[in-house]
Subunit: 194 residues, 4 copies
């Protein structure tokens, strides 16, 4: 790969990060190409050198964040741990993402009215891949008789909802530390699986 290509990819990433920041500040529709560009001291026209249109840029934001989260979890799943241990770590990882990378992780909310047919499909597919990591772990737990017999999909949704919501109320200097939250959620959610 040539140097220029590398630089181009680097720039793309910068733009995506800027977009993520703005989207978190203003919401999907409130984010403007203008503001995303201004964050990087560029003009909005320049963005179109890297992305076909706003939808494309927003999709790639979504994609970047989710793919990274998926990769992290897959790495974790590859380790020789018990189902319960894996579940604990996944909960910790998800909360960590939601809290520390709040901005990026926030992306996964409510893009319904943004994406057009084709990209909507890909977004949904990506989300499905992420949630299936949880779903599969639950299924495995059921198989190993570690978790009770139940509708794994429903449990997955319940758990993901509980976890995602954290970023709505978590305050960095609030009464509850990240570690406390993780510890509580791990135990509480495990109760549902047992």
């Amino acid at each position: 790969m040539k140097l220029s290509e590398k630089r181009s990819i680097e720039k793309k990433k910068q733009i995506i990060l800027s977009a993520v920041k703005i989207v978190n500040r203003r919401g999907y529709e409130g984010a403007t190409m203008e503001e995303i560009a201004a964050e990087l001291l560029m003009t909005k026209a320049s963005l179109y050198y890297y992305f076909r249109n706003k939808e494309d840029l927003l999709y790639q934001c979504h994609s970047l964040v989710l793919n990274q989260a998926i990769a992290d979890i897959e790495e974790l799943l590859a380790q020789p741990l018990s189902v319960e241990e894996k579940f604990f770590q996944m909960v910790a990882l998800h909360i960590d993402y939601a809290i520390e990378e709040k901005e990026t992780f926030n992306m996964i909310f409510e893009p319904k009215n943004i994406f057009s047919q084709e990209q909507l499909a890909e977004v949904i597919e990506l989300r499905k891949r992420y949630s299936s990591l949880f779903n599969n772990l639950i299924l495995k737990g059921i198989e190993e008789k570690k978790f009770r017999q139940a509708d794994s999909y429903l449990l997955t949704m319940l758990i993901l909802g509980a976890l995602n919501w954290i970023q709505q109320w978590y305050q960095p200097n609030g009464r509850l530390s990240k570690e406390e939250i993780i510890s509580h959620y791990q135990k509480d959610l495990l109760k549902i699986l047992k």
Copy 2:
């Protein structure tokens, strides 16, 4: 109250209901004054006779739905039921709202992208009132030794998150009916409280 005033209030309600319908269809930002008015065979200019601006109208939509939900729950809480029974009914009620009112009831969106200073405070206050209904019930359950000793705030957040998320994945004609979802969530979430 004069007749004309009564009629005015009635009309206001009609407009809000129309707005609720459109917001549920298009989202808060996607809803246009034009479409809200068209639903009632009015012109958008007329809306400004009843509401100061779009934000005001949208706020009253959110407010109406949330207040109604609060009222419904308060009515429920006033009945002579056990804590567990009340919890079950609250879960059912919340899911029903989340599914039937979808966008308007939506508690996932960031209100700061929609509402301005003054109304933002009221929205947040309203949400706090709503969540405290759950919090108080949990506290009462703990007091009555029906629920285990625990951080009620954390549990409230966990439960609300799980419930709110439903509107992100629920499909009217999906595999799971509303009733099934309610039944499962009731039992699963109760496990956490026990």
Copy 3:
């Protein structure tokens, strides 16, 4: 029809006339909504109250001009005249349009890359109707043995081309008066038909 409706239709016509003027000055693509509006001391946003978009406005320009020309010719054709006489009058009428209403009649050139599928079809249909007026007259002349046996379509195209071109070179104060041009074209083109 209410007064307001009448006024609306009047305004629409004004806008169309303004658009025609600008299109003739700048070409189809060069004409901007801004300039069309400015001509009437309006803002471009106002145009969208009367026309769905630029394409729609331009189409209606086209439509207005051609329909009027068609109506004029049809009226002429309804009169009890010989085929040759009718041909002479049609030539005179077309040249008159091309010269006097240069601006409006100019519209009929090269809109190929402007209209989208559906409206393109209507534009073509309209043009076909206009040219068929000539075509039918020629056919009738042939039938009546006043004109020689020939491919009427080819002759129509040849004649229309010759006539349309006049507006490209005609100068109001040039060597040749409108009447002279008409007189010459009538005779010259008739020679082809005979």
Copy 4:
């Protein structure tokens, strides 16, 4: 001339030919520097090494085609043929250009929407030179008593109009082949001259 210069001229010609192709496909305004460059696997920035700006490039396209047509006709006129024969061939040549080169040869568009002051003058001069070839032939025919006494300018305009219009209706796979059209136009237009 140095080799590098030769190569530069060669490249310029390539670019012009590419531009001609794109202009014929998209029209003068629809042709973008991007697409013209892409056709040659270049980047648009490179075009500016060879041409001052888009207008310059487009002018040279128009110029190339028109000059070529003029040269072709002049060559033809130099041959020992009768006036009628020369007229026939000129008609054939013009139609061929109009059909094969379509947009670039296009004499219907208003050049003032495309070209600026300085180049506009040259375009008009070029067109005048082209039409005078027809004019002169007609004058010669009249002199030789092969054509009837008449206003040669008017006849030139009539003929050019008829010919130029062909590109507005000709369809490559239509009912009438290029050869048929040529044959008919030759005979029909000659009738006017006789």
